[in-house]
């Protein structure tokens, strides 16, 4: 390894360093001063995020196991920003609830390990690295889901998550082994040249796909989602819903568009069906959810269905729109989760009916929530509209007009349940509303970042054009 390899892997190395520093800190800092580690971790991660924005060159390391280029690097930065927001929004909760139980630093360590796994997963150049990354990104999250050990529902969610994740990654590994059997290589570059459509490779692909579909929570691999989101601490649920989902969708897209391109005539059809099933089931189940976390869980399933509309194309336009949508979605969904978290931390209330009359007591939080919901529903001029419109345009560019039509039917269904929350906050009256409160600085900063993202990402068009330029990298 020379200096250039270090620079190419600097995201990974820096994050690992932070992790190690936190371990050292955890060991040496006195029990009563553990709270300072929260600030320390946030500070380091903030620096890490900023450093990430320096450009990187296209590199391939370790004989092709690890690769990086500007699009992958861009996406890592997007994940960094997302994780930073998650951490900011969770900081108060960690300080108030977790540090006294002496579980504050581990939260950061596990979350960073999972993020590190995602880095490796999206930078993977062969299936081995990919699988290692997948596992590393999943296992720590299982511990995080069960983090509130005093709550039964949290432990239950943890068990559910680890069991489903284990099954999914087992299926994925089996699929990889079949692909290896058929092609004789685990390197992406080699496989794409020799892959042909045979029964063996198709079976391999299906099993492999199932593993990633679990992480993106596509129907019919979505059953864990609502229960786990409900049981997990809100910060972890939001991490699962945006970062984990976004990274998995990104790598799935890269694999489909490059390695598995020879099977396109097959996966096109699979994705068509799964996109429809995911959108309809996610939306229809979201209609009747009372608990905000379950509600957002089903909404995020439906959003994953929309992502598939870009995936189905296999073109540069598809890549660009998917990356753009995920970026927008990170900010949007984190805004919604952030408000839910702020309210839950102050009052412990998580149901939609508790939000009745929220605007009259907490106008700013309600406005943030409304922006987030409008962005999720795809209403201009906020970013979600552009994300959705471009995804639909990508699907339409390949002539999938029926699919787009059914997707817009789903957008209308989803608008109904998003408006139910708006109705609760703005229209309904409440005898006993959530009283006015002021969140702490980290939470406010976290929400502010999301709002900026929602407002700016859509109207500031050069960003999309930039992503489109980068997308040539995987569509040669």
């Amino acid at each position: 390894m020379n200096l250039n390899s270090f620079i190419a892997m600097r995201q990974e190395i820096f994050l690992l360093t932070i992790l190690l520093l936190l371990i050292v800190g955890e060991i040496f800092i006195h029990k009563n001063k553990k709270e300072s580690l929260v600030h320390f971790a946030l500070f380091l991660f903030g620096i890490h995020t900023i450093i990430g924005f320096f450009a990187i060159e296209e590199t391939s390391l370790f004989g092709g196991m690890f690769r990086t280029n500007t699009l992958i690097h861009f996406f890592k930065n997007a994940l960094n920003v997302g994780v930073l927001i998650v951490l900011l929004q969770s900081a108060d909760w960690i300080q108030e609830k977790m540090v006294p139980l002496n579980k504050g630093t581990e939260f950061f360590m596990l979350l960073f390990s999972s993020l590190l796994g995602m880095y490796f997963m999206i930078s993977a150049g062969d299936f081995l690295m990919f699988y290692l990354g997948l596992e590393l990104s999943t296992l720590p999250v299982a511990a995080l889901v069960a983090w509130e050990t005093s709550k039964r529902i949290s432990s239950e969610a943890g068990v559910k998550f680890i069991l489903s994740a284990g099954l999914a990654s087992g299926a994925s590994l089996f699929g990889i082994s079949l692909l290896y059997a058929a092609t004789g290589s685990i390197y992406f570059a080699d496989i794409s040249t020799v892959l042909t459509s045979t029964n063996l490779t198709l079976l391999g692909f299906l099993l492999f796909f199932a593993g990633l579909a679990f992480k993106i929570s596509l129907v019919p691999f979505h059953f864990w989602t609502a229960d786990v989101y409900e049981g997990a601490p809100i910060g972890v649920a939001s991490y699962l819903s945006v970062i984990s989902k976004g990274a998995a969708a990104f790598i799935l897209m890269i694999l489909l568009f490059t390695v598995l391109k020879p099977l396109m005539h097959v996966w096109e059809n699979i994705i068509y069906v799964i996109a429809l099933a995911t959108m309809f089931i996610g939306n229809l189940f979201a209609l009747r959810q009372q608990n905000m976390k379950r509600f957002l869980a089903f909404s995020s399933i439906a959003q994953a269905g929309f992502i598939l509309l870009g995936l189905i194309t296999g073109t540069q336009l598809g890549t660009a729109t998917v990356v753009y949508f995920i970026l927008v979605y990170i900010f949007t969904n984190l805004a919604a989760f952030g408000v839910v978290q702020a309210i839950a931390l102050q009052t412990g209330k998580e149901n939609r009916d508790d939000y009745n009359g929220l605007y009259r007591t907490n106008p700013n939080l309600s406005l943030v929530m409304m922006l987030a919901l409008f962005s999720l529903a795809g209403i201009p001029p906020v970013a979600g509209f552009f994300g959705k419109f471009f995804l639909f345009a990508a699907a339409a560019s390949k002539g999938y007009y029926l699919l787009v039509f059914l997707a817009v039917v789903n957008v209308t269904i989803s608008l109904y349940y998003y408006l139910l929350v708006v109705r609760a906050m703005f229209i309904r009256k409440n005898e006993n509303p959530i009283p006015f409160f002021k969140s702490k600085i980290y939470m406010r900063l976290g929400l502010l970042l999301t709002v900026l993202g929602i407002l700016v990402l859509g109207l500031y068009s050069p960003l999309y054009d930039y992503i489109f330029e980068l997308s040539t990298l995987f569509n040669k």
């Binding site: 660009a320 409008f374 209403i379 201009p380 001029p381 509209f385 552009f386 419109f389 471009f390 639909f392 345009a393 339409a396 560019s397 007009y401 787009v404 039509f405 817009v408 039917v409 957008v411 209308t412 608008l415 109904y416 408006l419 708006v422 109705r423 703005f426 229209i427 068009s461 999309y464 054009d465 489109f468």
Partner: protein, 498 residues
Amino acid sequence: MDILSLFVIVPVLTVIALFFSNGLKQARIISMIGSFIQLGMAINLLFTYLKERAVDKSVMLFTQDYVWFENFNVHYAIGVDGISVALLLLTSIVVLAGVFISWKTDDLPKEFFISLLVLATGVYGFFISIDLFTMFVFYEIAVIPMYLLIGIWGSGPKEYSAMKLTLMLMGASAVLMVGVLGIYFNSNADGGALTFNILEISKVHIPFEAQKLFFPLTFIGFAVLGALFPFHTWSPDGHASAPTAVSMLHAGVLMKLGGYGVFRIAMFLLPLGAIEWSWFFIILSAIGVIYGAFGALKQTDLKYINAYSSVSHLGMVLFALLMLNKTSWNGAILQSLSHGFMTALFFALIGMIYGRTHTRDITKLGGLLKVMPFISVIYVIAGLASLGLPGFSGFVAEMNIFVGAFQHEEMFYRVATVISVSAIVVTAVYILRVLGIMLMGEVKNEEYLNLPKATWFEITGIMLLLIPMIGMGVAPLWLSDMTMESVGPFIQGVLNHL
């Protein structure tokens, strides 16, 4: 800064100013100033347009073009012709009147005016856009504030009405999105680049199959907002529950977006589709015209009567557009304008009557001419305009529509036209019925004998609407000429394919 973009910038600035305002007094003053500037700009635009039009014969004037999303070839492209100028003027008048009528909104006033002006921003933006994408963005911006406006400040079953209206309109716009994408991805049919620009797409020969597929999507997408039967059901409920100013703005301006989009996009860009499908939508719109009229006949709630009357009148706009000739198209534009002033006036008056008597049920009212003469006289004038009496704006419009419609000689058109014309008779019946029951006769309720007089802001609001309405009726020609000239290129684009 170009004079058209100001139509979007000024309301946005007003909204920002409102955001930092405090209390009813500041909010209404800021909104009033903003809307006044807007009206001034609209009048100024009218005269500059007329001056410019004398020398410049291109389809759209004052065009500006800024690249927005380069890879999708999305532009913020704007430009106006006589039709948009007239509709911008209508919008600015109705918005200002709406602000005056809402002078005493005491519940969350700041938020009310913000929502109202966001809606106005969407409408202005829609009328100046000549880029499909930009237009679509503004279209949705105009629709979504309705949810809050009806939900928070409405009356009666407001949650139900607001949800129904929003879902139907946003559902329609979602369908429209498919149509827009279909047009966009066929805009390179002649080998050029994909584009959203309306004027460029109109030169492209989009394949017939695509036109046949996307015309109904685009047409329905817009026509739901123009209360096309059977998608009109949001309108009566929505109007009945909405607060006065919102009903005014919605029926007066927002519903015009439907007809405007139909001829500007659906028909202009997909002429073969329009010709192919016109028979089907003629049937629907003729049913709408007659159904709306009979619906109004049966209702006793003033707002429902007016809402159904709007369904009937705007059905006529769609009907006229589907006739695909110049006279009827011009009639459709004039009908939109005339209906805009008239229905906004109606809703303002209904709001004032309701505010004093606390009922909108005409069977409980009576003899209002004796107790509130000013409001009642204006109501009579609006009613006469609505039933198309010569000398008022409605007459000119309907005359044009039916003269145009009768130019078709086939049996099918004749029957459809006769059915639609007969709605005029029904209109006369339901208007006169309301006037008779509500204004004439004995005062039914003692309490009505000493009702407060119309206040200055109410009178200002009403005059703003009344004057142009009468002006249009007395001197229709200059307006008719202006729109007729602008209709030309559009109808010609369609007729070239016949």
